[in-house]
């Protein structure tokens, strides 16, 4: 296990830039999530780390050694692919053993390791099956076992949960996280799903346009977004951003409440015209516009249904709403955070 460090990695496909200088440090044992929209370069970055792509410039260090010119097989990293990439013509046992066979490990040692990895993931009973005979969740475990069997320096996961159904995804999320904590392997996890990122990452690197927009703990990313992109990419519904003179004002929908619900003294009041509201059981999402700002811009509020009276959000009417000043975020005209509180 080892730390992974990149220095100003740039990758161009022909003239098209995919990664515009990413410098990232993932300390030993950390669970780092790369979060970004599709096409932002996060998967390319992962492929550079495991050696499937060669960066155009910049350095990659694994365990303190520059590995720019070291082929994938010698880097010691393991990768789990979006569709798992299991070998369909091998049994599960053979699939898990393959990374050891390529390293010339003795067959006695291979048997022990396969036993260990399959035990760890609870797939002992599947060892003699072929991948096509497995369910999606089982395939995912086999892929994970194959990635872990040779005790990699770093574990790279490329959207590993995207092929699972919603219910399985929640439990798999839990499992991967617990498992990573148990064996303490440095993990880089690529996803476009903010729930996965927030729920699993020790730290999150938000990536857009081949650049890291912000690196931080889930709380830092959510509460103190470094720019408008991060503010609107993380959170559902996203942060409300309104243009003011010479900049932008942002606040999260759950901080935008009827004025009488604010207990703090320092708050900013808005007149809010409610257009429509959605009752979602545990929360109510309200859509409307704020007086004095662009009337076409939809401003959302996320309210706890139990504590909000019907008349205070009646559609078609103006209501006094407010945001605590500590929950307001200001961005300059370029969309960067203007001042931190």
């Amino acid at each position: 296990m080892a730390a992974v460090l990149t220095r100003d990695i740039i990758k161009k496909f022909g003239e098209v830039p995919a990664i515009n200088g990413i410098s990232l440090t993932v300390p030993n044992g950390e669970f780092m999530v790369l979060l970004g929209p599709s096409g932002c370069g996060k998967t390319t970055f992962l492929r550079i780390i495991c050696g499937l792509e060669r960066q155009t410039s910049g350095d990659l260090l694994i365990g303190g050694n520059v590995v720019n010119d070291i082929p994938p097989r010698a880097r010691g990293v393991a990768m789990m692919f979006q569709s798992y990439g299991l070998y369909p013509h091998f049994s599960v046992r053979h699939n898990i053993a393959f990374p050891l066979k390529t390293q010339g490990v003795s067959s006695i040692e291979i048997n022990k390791k396969v036993e260990w990895a399959s035990q760890l993931l609870g797939i002992n009973h599947l060892l003699d099956r072929r991948p096509r005979q497995l369910s999606g969740g089982e395939r995912q475990r086999v892929a994970l076992a194959r990635a872990l069997v040779r005790e990699p320096t770093a574990l790279l996961l490329d959207e590993p949960l995207s092929n699972l159904d919603a219910k399985l995804r929640a439990s798999a999320r839990q499992e991967i996280k617990q498992f990573q904590q148990r064996i303490g392997v440095t993990t880089i996890y690529v996803t476009h799903d903010q729930v996965e990122a927030m729920g699993m990452g020790d730290r999150i690197a938000v990536i857009d346009g081949g650049r890291v927009r912000q690196v931080g703990t889930p709380a830092e990313i959510y509460d103190d977004p470094a720019d408008r992109f991060v503010a609107t990419f993380v959170g559902a519904p996203p942060m409300n951003i309104m243009a003011t003179n010479g900049g932008y004002l942002g606040f999260r929908p759950e901080n935008f409440l009827p004025k009488d619900m604010i207990e703090d003294d320092a708050f900013t009041e808005f007149s809010y015209r409610v257009d429509r509201s959605e009752y979602l059981g545990s929360e109510r999402i309200v859509y409307g516009a704020v007086e004095g700002f662009d009337p076409k811009q939809v401003i959302t509020a996320k309210l706890p249904p139990a504590h909000v009276a019907e008349e205070s959000i009646r559609p078609g009417q103006w209501h006094p709403f407010a945001v605590r000043n500590s929950a307001l975020r200001r961005f300059d005209k370029d969309g960067m955070r203007a001042s931190r509180h």
Binding site: P72, R73, L86
Partner: protein, 309 residues
Amino acid sequence: MVSIAEPVAKPATPFRFLLDRRDLLGAIFVAPAILYVLLLVGVPFLMAVYYSVSAYTIYDPSWSFVGLANFEQIIGDPVFRQTLYNTFIFTFGSQILGLILGKFGALVLLRPFFGRKFVRALIILPWAVPIALATVAWQWMFDSLYSVINWTLIALGLITRSEAPNWLGNPHLAMLSVIIVNAWRFFPFAIVIFLAGITSIPQDVLDAATVDGAGFWRRNYQIILPMILPITAIGLIFGIVFTFTDLSIVFLLANGGPVGATSVLGFQGFQTGIVSGDVSHGAAISLFMLPVLLIVVIAMLRFIRRREI
């Protein structure tokens, strides 16, 4: 009120909607193909069976039943046994050579390079050129005097004029020559099969193998080849069936010679049955292909089924 769908005005006759019936329409569409196969494959096959158990020749066209005597006679004939052996050598030799060329061709064509589309179009030519034309060209390549191959070897200083091989005059070289020409015809087909197979392998699987530490050869022989084996076997079945029954290259290039060294079943059947007029023995020789091919095809299909992934 305007009615969009006119009600059926005429009384419905039983034939009016006949073509709307799926089963009937299907039968009508399939009928020409079935007729074609029955008339041009089925009838000749049955006639071959009919003649093979008779003493029919074009000089004595009376039919008399002789049982399996014709088969006994041809099996006892060393020339026929040599022909059977030749057929196997010709078939498997050219298939193996074609597959090897096809695999390397496919690997080359998978990588992007300048003019790849042009080369892809070009490489299909051996398959598209009429077989007679191509064979005539090859005849010049192997000519005893004007052989392009020999001239090249001499020009390179590798052999002298007196050592130049007589490709179609030497029995072993003649067999090698017909194998080379047939492999040359077959390899574009093999390339297409390999390309289809390789491009159908998910990139994730190949990437996983690379990250798992497999180099070029291991990826090729432990991942790619086993995964394309089923489609390759199907291609090979086609190749074997076509080659085993073929006589055109042998006929045009070497005419079965020298001294029967390149004679194959199709060629000998034609020579005996049509040229020499001994129809019953010719039919028996041709029918010999059937059990052999049946065994090969069944064995390969079973193999594919077992390897199914």
